[in-house]
């Protein structure tokens, strides 16, 4: 992991545009995630928050705009193949960001340990012994140190998601990207995953988080971005955006979310 260059955020996005066919999903987004900060993206479905997250590690190639990860800038021109960016550079950016998916997406034919060491060994070229040692430490850190020999199917949803977080941490990412990490979980399993995410946030890992858990967002976020119809509707500290929204759209969203979703971390 390289040190962030002074004065540069870990992730900097400028004027990002993404459309599918004729539908423009992101209409010029700016985003900065400083080192050690937690940026939370909220918004109703179709607001573009997941698309924005997927653009960050280039699972979606933006039409135009700039994405800089730790100072390495990618400029996109959607008229060209792969946005005019070298596939090797795309893979390098991807391997520097740890992604956690809504549905875990662990590799079902690999044990938990194999899942965690796969990217370090095959993508980053870390020696196997070193990767294994580190993987065991990470699995202990997320509380499933004894599950390393299990296959994903043998674990509960909460355990699988924690394994997925360990997998994302194993590449020593410059930032972690969470795409609704608790949305597929049974309510009683949500808190164990949120606790791990909170520990990581307090440990100073840079994060971009897409979530509907607004109470949790208020607790861990450095900044909340409310996306509305492909643009940033509102942004600011969590207490401001979530308690005292300035725009009508955000106010309506926050009210409806707090009304329907009560689950959060216990304590």
């Amino acid at each position: 992991m390289s040190e962030a260059k002074a004065g540069q955020p870990r992730i900097r996005v400028r004027d990002l545009v993404k459309s599918y066919n004729r539908l423009t999903v992101l209409k010029g987004i700016d985003l900065d995630a400083e080192e050690g900060s937690v940026v939370t993206l909220i918004g109703s479905s179709g607001s573009g928050k997941s698309t924005l997250l997927r653009c960050l590690n280039l699972l979606e190639i933006p039409d135009s705009g700039d994405i800089a990860i730790d100072g390495e800038t990618l400029h996109f021109d959607g008229r060209k193949r792969a946005g005019g960016v070298d596939p090797r550079q795309i893979r390098r950016v991807r391997s520097s960001l740890g992604m956690v998916f809504q549905n875990f997406a662990l590799w079902s034919h690999m044990t938990i340990l194999e899942n965690v060491i796969a990217a370090p060994v095959h993508v980053l070229g870390v020696p196997r012994e070193q990767a294994v040692e580190r993987a065991h430490a990470l699995l202990r850190r997320v509380g499933i140190g004894d599950k390393h020999a299990c296959f994903p199917v043998q674990l509960s949803g909460g355990q699988q998601q924690r394994a997925a977080i360990a997998r994302a941490l194993a590449i020593e990412p410059k930032a972690l990207l969470f795409d609704e990490p608790t949305s597929a979980l049974d309510p009683e399993l949500v808190s164990e995953v949120l606790r791990v995410i909170r520990d990581l946030a307090e440990g100073g890992i840079t994060m971009v988080l897409v979530t509907h858990e607004l109470r949790f967002a208020r607790e861990v976020s450095s900044r909340v971005i409310f996306l509305h119809q492909g643009v940033i509707g509102e942004t600011g500290p969590p207490d401001q955006v979530l308690r005292d929204p300035q725009t009508e759209a955000c106010r309506r969203f926050v009210r409806s979310e707090f009304g329907t979703r009560m689950s959060s971390v216990e304590e």
């Binding site: 699972l59 991807r94 998916f101 079902s108 034919h109 796969a118 296959f151």
Partner: protein
């Protein structure tokens, strides 16, 4: 006429029949290996966006599935030498002709199995590998192929059993496999019951052993139930995961 046990047992343990059984198994294994080798790229082609490639593979499958294997055997053995002198040379044995006929024929069936298996692999897991920066070839080798292979295993073994029995068609081009040897013995002795029973027993044993092997393999590579397995496949495919 009663069943003569001696006439049954003598060929059963004879070198001639054992060698014939070996040729049968060798032909089936070599043909299926060849068929899988060319049908995997064909399956990938069918899944690709290129319309021309898809159309070409569709035509191939259509042609080779429509025409009987027996005709292909006769064609490759009798007609190919008329096309080119290459097929008049000594390397072009009945085994080679039968092998080519079975490969091109079997590939047409195997391609559908492969295509279905490749399509059944969880897209989210492929996307996860993409998100971690794996090269597309690594994704294929480490994620897609092992999972597709597991899905394709039962129907593939099924195909192999059919293929094993189809090798008996090579008796028309005088390849010295089980059926040919049986026919030759019957033609001189007229001991139909005994020699047919020998051939039947050989096929039965081969397929039974194969079926047992299949269920062992399926258990071994089962990562969808709570059993510790899967490592064998990773090693097999060079994944070297521990």
């Amino acid at each position: 006429m009663s069943f003569n046990l001696d006439v049954f047992l003598t060929p059963l343990f004879s070198l001639v029949f054992m060698k014939a059984a070996l040729i049968t198994v060798a032909l089936a294994v070599a043909a299926h290996a060849g068929a899988i080798l060319i049908s995997v790229p064909m399956a990938l082609g069918l899944n690709s966006g290129r319309r021309l490639i898809r159309a070409m593979i569709r035509v191939y499958v259509g042609v080779f599935r429509a025409i009987p294997t027996l005709l292909w055997m006769l064609f490759f053995w009798n007609a190919m030498p008329q096309f080119s002198p290459i097929f008049r040379e000594s390397w072009y044995t009945p085994f080679m002709a039968a092998w080519i006929a079975l490969v091109v024929n079997e590939a047409a069936y195997q391609v559908e199995i492969n295509r279905a298996a490749l399509n059944a692999v969880d897209r989210a897991q492929i996307q996860a590998a993409t998100a971690f920066g794996f090269h597309p070839l690594q994704i294929f080798r480490l994620v897609t192929l092992p999972q597709a292979a597991r899905i394709a295993l039962p129907p593939t073994v099924n195909e192999f059993i059919t293929l094993l029995k189809a090798t008996s068609l090579a008796s028309v081009i005088s390849l010295q496999e089980l059926m040919t040897v049986t026919n030759q013995a019957v033609a001189t002795t007229f001991q139909f019951q005994e020699y047919y029973a020998v051939a039947a027993l050989y096929y039965l044993v081969i397929v039974t052993v194969l079926t047992l092997f299949q269920s062992r393999l399926e258990r071994r590579f089962d990562w969808t139930t709570e059993r510790k397995a899967g490592r064998g496949l990773m090693r097999l495919l060079g994944g070297r995961a521990r």
